[in-house]
Amino acid sequence: MSRIGVFVCHCGTNIASVVDPDKLIAAARELPGVAYAADYKYMCSEPGQQMIKDSISEHGLDRIVIASCSPRMHETTFRKMLKNTGINPYMLEIANIREQCSWVHVDKDRASEKAVNLMRMAVSKISKNEPLYAQTIPITKKALVIGGGIAGIQAALDIADAGHEVVLLERESSVGGKMAMLDKTFPTLDCSACISTPKMVDVGAHPNITLMTSCEVESVSGYIGNFEVGIKQKARYVNHDICTGCGLCETKCPVKVESEFNLGLSTRPAIYKLFPQAVPSKPIIDKENCRLLKGGKCGICAKLCPLGCVNYEDEDRTITDNFGAIVIATGYQLVDWPSMYGEYGGGRYKDILSGLQFERTVNAAGPTEGHIVRPSDGKEPETVVIVKCVGSRDPNKGKSYCSRACCMYAAKHAHQILEKLPGTRVFIFYIDVRTPGKGYEEFYDQTRMDGAVYVRGRVSKIYEEEGQLVCRGEDSLLGEQVSVKADMVILETAMEPSPGIAELTSLLGAARDVNNWVQEAHPKLRPAETQVGGVFLAGTCQGPKDIPDTVAQASAAAAKVIGLLNKSEMETSPMISAVERDKCSGCGVCVGICPYKAVTLLEIDDRHGAKRIKREVANVNSGLCQGCGACTSACRTGALDLLGFRNKQILEEVDALCL
């Protein structure tokens, strides 16, 4: 028989004034397996703990039940205490007779009775406890940051500055992200490039940072501290090891295609740098558009290159590397408004720009060198309509959330127009104006002072009339239809997660919310973590935010990563799922239920009668499993069980209550 010791805490009078410890002791002595029972004023105190230790050696106890305050208070204390006694720390159960008994009940007899029940349940449960051993896992001291926008850049720099190796991975050929496309940043109106470019250069030059552009995550395995990531290095056709970025090759390329960076407002060659300040400042060949790679005759760039960097034979490669932590910083994209807003012409009208297109337009390095002109005829607009919440806050258009940054950049756009083209009439259609941020409200006020006219209401229709865009909508303050003839319309469109987020999160095992943003582990308390251990979040991949918030979150994620990588190894909780392979039929229901991708099917060698066969069974990755137990309830046969909360332990508790 097990030799259980039951220890009842008075907690001063907190417990003893309502629950009669003597009754508990007397009842405990009647229970099977209980070898010793005693009470004390404060079990958690030094003498209390000593008393437990002494009783263990004196009575040869092998399991300890403590009837006291909530296990959330002192479970750790008592486990630590057991560590030094030779009893496994998990041979401990706590009956919560304070928070869930003496403090919430008045009738002493009935409270004592309930306390006896709770103690009995703990005694029954512990009779089925088994020793558990925490595993320590080594930690690879290297972080992977996915996404080279400002969030990824900031996180990478912070981690690298703390002395850890970082791989910064970017899908495009240059880091910089959306921030590099912006002209000025609200509310201070400092030039976006001026503040982001130095950071881009820093990551390119940092000794601890390996920049991997034109790369995508292809596979992820492993768990916190020990991820193995397969990275696809897309063919660049230019040897970046030799290339100096002189730019000669770009000059003679016969191909002209729409520039992604300028959002179609200008063109670029097939061998190109994403933008002039790109980091790395080296070109790649766009294989979709390169004449030679499409099978045609050309090869001009190869001839031009003085160093022979161009290699048309280049191929995609997969690089595998190990990381201790991963930061997701994949950012956002703007919704594809033309497909959603037929009433705005569905993209037919050239002079309707998205906010980002306007950013490129107003940017001195942009296609118009900063002149605000209509794309259709190059004329300066006299009337500009800015429409906010295009796609945001509109469940009918699929996005019920607020994109957070648009109020401010609408104001900024108005400000920029009024500044560059004084006298222009600017109308801003809005639902609400939200300016929570340092200096934001002041900036908004200033814009109104500048002359921007705010019209409360949605624009219901935009159509062309005599070379102008008629914006019709309701002024909900006046309650009447309004119609503005504009020369240019700027749509402040909603943010949505960048493409590929679904694939990436499913590789990582991270969850997404209803809007496809990556789900944080806790909305308040763990905003920079995913629920997958070792995978962190930075920037707009988690939800719309502006630059200050993005950078703050990136630094927060970096701090988490640094905290993790500073350890050489970590202990994992032993209270995780375990598989009894003999019972497991490999049906795989558990695989889909695990939020951490901790359960996978594993092929094992087995026998079927006399035949040697291979069959699949569930396999729990102890590094990934967080011990929620969701898989165990889905396992019909009971092959999966949760250590520390085994089926038989819980059933014992149920049985004990009903005695």
Partner: protein, 279 residues
């Protein structure tokens, strides 16, 4: 009828002769004209033993689990119900498609109560189809009628109804053993030591078996009706599983199992905006 039977025999014979299949599972005679029994023919010369008549009732799919790792393909005469059962087994990762050779035999309806709910006479999965598909029976009016009848009772009446039903259960587990959704390596009910299922015959333990089994298979039930057919006590077993199907249908719309081998089962997934009745 005999023409089809002949086709079946020829097909089986050829499969066996060509070595395409190690053996073929079909129906064979018994000592009673109105009964057949599943037979397993290895020898091409024995293919003449297969019969096809209105008493070829037993679903054959579950036998695939007896031989999960065959050296050669297993030939199986496959009707609508077998094919759905095979989808069930495929989805549950119990058999490999390449291990079976499915001989499609559109069903003309059999003399069994289990066929009253049938909606798929034609195999939805097969390697060869022996004859032209049959017209599917008109959608069984009132798929969930019996469930509705029971739902209409008061809680106490329902308890008595099921209690008395389970009083007669002899726990022979025929329902489980014939069920394609019951494909655990070891059934929870055979492990009385784990504490979920007592082995004694009491109303309580019988009911717990009934409800647990229903819960285990409910969202994966293909409604083949085999459980009720095999029950020696003629218990209305599907009244339980169909209750779950009915609820799922009400909660998420049209829900049927075994129509393909990939759809995730209802309890194996979730939607963020699932209906929530728990405050």
């Amino acid at each position: 009828m005999s023409e089809k039977q002949e086709k079946m025999r020829q097909c089986a014979e050829k499969l066996l002769r060509d070595g395409e299949a190690g053996y073929v599972i079909g129906w064979g005679e018994t000592r009673f004209d109105d009964r057949t029994t599943p037979i397993f023919v290895e020898d091409p010369a024995g293919a003449g033993a297969f019969v096809w008549n209105e008493y070829a009732i037993n679903s054959l799919a579950k036998y695939l689990l007896d031989d999960k790792y065959p050296d050669k393909k297993i030939g199986l005469f496959t009707r609508g119900c077998e094919s759905r059962a095979i989808n069930r087994l495929l989805k549950d990762n119990q058999i490999k498609r390449e291990n079976v050779y499915l001989i499609g035999v559109p069903c003309d309806g059999k003399k069994s109560d289990r066929c009253t709910l049938c909606r798929e006479r034609n195999p939805i999965l097969y390697d060869v189809l022996l004859w032209t598909p049959e017209d599917d029976p008109p959608p069984a009016a009132g798929r969930f009628d019996r469930v509705k009848d029971i739902e209409a009772m008061s809680p106490d009446e329902r308890y008595v109804y099921w209690g008395e039903t389970y009083d007669s259960c002899i726990r022979c587990y025929a329902c489980r053993n014939v069920c394609p959704a019951c494909n655990c390596r070891e059934c929870y009910a055979d492990m009385s030591k784990t504490g979920f299922q007592g082995k004694q015959h009491s109303r309580s333990d019988n009911q717990i078996f009934g409800v647990t089994r229903a819960f285990h298979v409910g969202d994966r039930c293909i409604e083949c009706g085999e459980c009720e057919r095999v029950c020696p006590m003629n218990l209305p077993i599907m009244g339980q599983t169909q209750k779950i199907l009915k609820d799922i249908n009400e909660l998420t719309g049209e829900y049927e199992c075994g129509m393909d081998a990939t759809s995730e089962n209802y309890l194996g997934r979730f939607d963020l905006d699932d209906k929530d009745e728990f405050m």
